[in-house]
């Protein structure tokens, strides 16, 4: 147990060091500017006086190290500085936005991760069957399509719907997919490969497709057809309203994240299933269920946890684009706006928060991987 704690402690230590170094990088990246921040803000035709005044106000005349340390000091006390553009304290704005983003990300994670793990395991178990191949193709498409594309498709399917006349190309694609599914189902029935779960999934997919046309589940409220594709999150919306307003962005995130995670899970499980000790279990006559649960799974925790952590880290980046599409008032949207306005202090603060979350997640993944390694749990 001692070596375990020591290793975990080392990882923790490295994680914190990394955070510090990242903060240094984020802060000092600004120093790379040719010219200086004041010049950037006021533009080319600023007079020397206004430049000097701004520099003074921003404290740019102090040496960089001092500025970094005071910035860091402020952060550790919860003060993220002031916006370059509005001058208002960043922390006030960030807290609310961060909360929204976390809500969205958590919501998406809770749905996506179990779904992806389940699909990944199923695909690994039934590998090279039509089920596996279909899932592989669909997820490959999902991770290849830009998030905004998926977002808008969802808007079309669930919010706005589309009339028959302008759905030409979509109809072609949908028909193609339906035919492929049908062929797959018939083939599976012939070779006896079907399992109930796979049929259920095919039906669900069909229903979603048809919803675009018939809108069984209209996620709109009359009369404005655009709601809630542009989420309206007021400060004191109650929980139910929050969920309702977040469904479409959440769904987008879920789709992309599930695809990504499912592929990683599948790869890891296939890797484990081809290990010699699994072959040995087969040769001992162990039934398939026990092979999965008693032999494979205990060895799968570490890679699966790794996958989950990577997924959560991936979510952090995915959130940015999704928030932009749905104009969701989260941290990602704030970051994008700040970049457009060259509000550098705001950008630094947002980047730091995102980076911190990323580092923390990776660090936890490392620690969990250590904690589930049988060689470390039972040392020589």
């Amino acid at each position: 147990m001692n070596s375990l704690l020591r290793l975990a402690g080392t990882r923790l230590f490295y994680g914190i060091i990394t955070l510090f170094v990242v903060s240094v990088v984020i802060f000092f990246a600004v120093e790379l500017l040719p010219g200086d921040v004041a010049q950037q803000i006021l533009g080319r035709d600023a007079t020397p006086e206004t430049l000097a005044a701004l520099r003074d106000r921003l404290g740019l005349n102090d040496p960089a190290i001092l500025r970094y340390l005071s910035w860091l000091h402020g952060i550790l006390q919860g003060d993220l500085g002031a916006s370059l553009v509005t001058g208002r304290p960043i922390s006030d704005l960030v807290i609310g936005r961060l909360g929204n983003t976390l809500f969205l990300a958590a919501f998406a994670a809770i749905v996506a991760i179990p779904l992806a793990l389940f699909l990944g395991v199923m695909a690994a178990l039934y590998r090279d069957t039509w089920f596996d191949r279909t899932i592989n193709t669909v997820t490959l498409a999902a991770i290849s399509l830009p998030e905004f594309f998926i977002a808008y498709i969802l808007v079309l399917f669930f919010s706005i719907g589309f009339s028959f006349q302008m759905s030409g190309p979509l109809a072609v694609i949908a028909a193609f997919v339906l035919l492929a599914l049908l062929r797959g189902i018939l083939q599976a029935r012939r070779t006896g490969e079907t399992s109930g779960i796979q049929l259920v999934m095919a039906v669900v997919f069909l229903l979603i497709l048809l919803n675009g046309y018939f809108r069984f589940v209209p996620l709109t409220t009359e009369p404005m057809r655009v709601l809630p594709s542009l989420s309206r999150m007021s400060e004191d919306a109650n929980f139910g309203e929050r969920i309702f307003n977040s469904i479409l962005p959440m769904l987008t995130l879920v789709l992309v994240t599930t695809a990504y995670t499912m592929r990683m899970t599948r790869a890891n499980i296939v890797n484990i299933l081809s290990a010699p000790y699994i072959e040995m279990a087969t040769l001992k006559g162990v039934p398939p269920a026990r092979i999965i649960f008693w032999h494979a799974l205990p060895n799968a925790w570490a890679p699966i946890i790794n996958v989950v952590a990577l997924t959560l880290a991936y979510l952090i980046t995915g959130v940015v684009v999704v928030e932009a599409v749905f104009v969701y008032p989260g941290l990602g949207q704030l970051l994008v706006d700040s970049v457009a306005k060259r509000d550098i202090t705001m950008v630094q603060a947002c980047c730091l928060i995102f980076a911190a979350a990323y580092v923390l997640l990776n660090m936890m993944a490392d620690i969990f991987a250590i904690a589930t390694n049988p060689r470390l749990l039972h040392p020589k």
Binding site: S274, A275, P276, Y277, E279, M280, A281, T282, L283, K284, G285, V286, P287, R290, W294, H295, P298, N299, P374, R375, H378, P379, K380
Partner: protein, 535 residues
């Protein structure tokens, strides 16, 4: 003797898939096994022995399929049987012992849980009884601390112990047949003899039939009642062990048996000057000392064999001599002049004088360079040849190693056999015109016939070019064949060092004694005798 055979395989055909093609692995082999009989399956690598052994359980590895023939176990047809039927047989009536025990045990569970899994699934008893049976079997295979070793995890147990634990696990359900797939190939000789003893005891005690797969002729002579020789998926010969050993019929079988008779050309009695001297070398990797005060020497034109088991430090000694590992103490002296400890500080002439040939031919040659390129580079680098002179030199080198230049110049390593690749490795060393060649287990990865060819070549080159060899190996038969003097190493120390005749005749250092006596003979009674002698 009208009892039906336990296992009856007729006309078995197995194919394997590479890319879009299906290629044959087994071409219509017949195999019969009676109850309690031990059948040895020998052949070189690629003969299909493992595939055939697994087929006895109705199992094929991924990418393989049984394309013809019948496999009957106790009258039940296995080809085309349902998975459920096969599951009932496997583990319960037919068991398997794999080559690598470390990979075949699940790292997440302890040994005893994996032992009792078999009997529990097949409904052969409750947990308590099975556990006590496990302890009894662990004792039967002579594992230390049989009561508690089961509660250890695979990584907490040594390789030889794991192999015995796997044998015990195979016996858990008292099967009728056990397939042993090269169980001792990866083990040192001193460990191997214990595992062989354990297997033989377990098999005879329970009257289990066994298929013993190996490429080692001496081992199969100990374990099997009957021997089948396989080559490229075909059965070459089949006979009782004693008859096959004394009077093999087929040319191929004869060639396998005669392999062990090669002896290097005897050297003149003169005592040549020492070429290389290792003086009190101590070396370490970080905190771990791997060589302790090693001193030895190699004389011009002679072969020094360095023999030891895994962890003895023999390969590390080679690295210290070539300068890849800087010794903490001591020095390497060549022709009376001390060599720089780090190879980066050695002159070109110094680097050229010592060349190395490696164990695994596949990793020793750059797969993207042709034979001509591989040989031309050192020739050009060290002897400054170019143009036509270089071209001719490459041809000369190829002729030296008995390969036809026209056929082999433009080939890539992927288009060569293992033995040919090793020959190119030798030629590459020769291209530098060295004085000393370090052969690091150069025949260990080759089949015995091919290995003998390499040894003959090395012997001839030594005669023609007055080369000195430092021959590193774990195989005592090779040492007997090629060495002029022998250095025995254990745990980074020199245990014995002297002319071959002296080292191989008593009195011995206890470790040398152990090592010599653990090497299997082709005599079927060797194991029994040795175990008796040790008691």
């Amino acid at each position: 003797m009208a009892e039906p055979p336990l296992l009856e395989m007729r006309g078995v055909r197995i194919e394997g898939q590479t890319g879009p093609d299906w290629l044959p692995i087994i071409n219509g082999v017949d195999l019969t096994l009676a109850k309690g009989e031990v059948l040895g399956l020998i052949g070189e690598s690629g003969a299909g022995k493992s595939t055939l052994g697994l087929a006895a359980m109705g199992y094929t590895r991924g990418g393989c399929r049984i394309s013809g023939g019948s496999i009957k176990f106790a009258g039940q047809e296995l080809v085309g049987a349902t998975r459920a039927d096969l599951r009932l047989l496997r583990g319960k009536r037919i068991a398997y012992v794999a080559q690598s025990a470390a990979a075949s045990f699940n790292p997440a569970h302890n040994l005893i849980d994996q032992f009792i899994e078999g009997p529990m699934i097949h409904g052969l008893g409750d947990r308590a009884t099975t556990q006590s049976e496990a302890v009894a079997l662990y004792d039967a295979v002579q594992l230390p601390e049989p009561e508690t070793i089961g509660f250890r995890y695979p990584h907490q147990v040594s390789g030889g112990q794991l192999q015995r634990a796997m044998t015990a696990m195979a016996m858990a359900c008292k099967p009728d047949l056990i397939v042993f797939d090269e169980p001792t190939t990866a083990l040192d000789v001193t460990t191997q003899i214990e595992v062989l003893a354990a297997i033989r005891k377990a098999v005879s005690e329970f009257g289990t039939a066994a298929i013993y797969i190996t490429h080692d002729l001496a081992v199969v002579a100990q374990m099997a009642d009957r021997i089948m020789v396989l080559r490229y998926g075909d059965l070459v010969e089949e006979a009782d062990t004693r008859r096959m050993l004394s009077a093999p019929q087929e040319a191929y079988t004869k060639s396998l048996w005669s392999v062990r008779t090669f002896e290097a050309t005897p050297k003149p009695a003169s005592d040549p000057a020492p070429l290389l001297q290792v003086e009190n070398v101590t070396a370490a990797y970080g905190d771990l000392t791997v060589l302790h005060d090693i001193s030895t020497q190699v004389q011009t034109g002679r072969t020094v064999a360095v023999v030891g088991e895994s962890g003895s430090g023999k390969s590390t000694l080679a690295r210290a001599i070539t300068g890849l590992l800087t010794p903490k103490q001591g020095r390497i002296v060549m022709d009376g002049k001390a060599l720089a400890p780090d190879f980066r500080r050695r002159s070109k002439d110094d680097l050229r004088a010592i060349q190395m040939i490696y164990q695994i031919p596949d990793t020793a040659l750059n797969p993207r360079q042709s034979v001509a390129q591989i040989l031309a580079r050192p020739a050009k680098f060290f002897t400054g040849l170019s143009g036509k002179a270089l071209y001719d030199r490459v041809d000369d080198l190829l002729a030296l190693i008995d390969l036809e230049p026209g056929l082999f110049r433009s080939r890539l390593p992927g288009e060569l056999s293992g033995g040919q690749k090793q020959r190119i490795g030798i030629a590459r060393a020769l291209a530098a015109e060295p004085r000393l060649i370090i052969c690091d287990e150069v025949t260990s990865a080759l089949d015995q016939l091919v290995a003998e060819g390499i040894l003959r070549l090395l012997d001839r080159l030594q005669q023609e070019l007055d080369l000195s060899y430092l021959f590193i190996t774990h195989d005592l038969a090779t040492v007997r064949a090629v060495a002029d003097s022998v250095v025995v190493m254990q745990y980074g120390k020199v245990v014995e060092d002297g002319p071959k005749a002296e080292v191989f005749s008593p009195p011995h250092d206890p470790y040398t004694e152990l090592l010599l006596s653990s090497v299997p003979d082709m005599d079927p009674d060797w194991l029994t005798r040795t175990l008796e002698a040790r008691r």
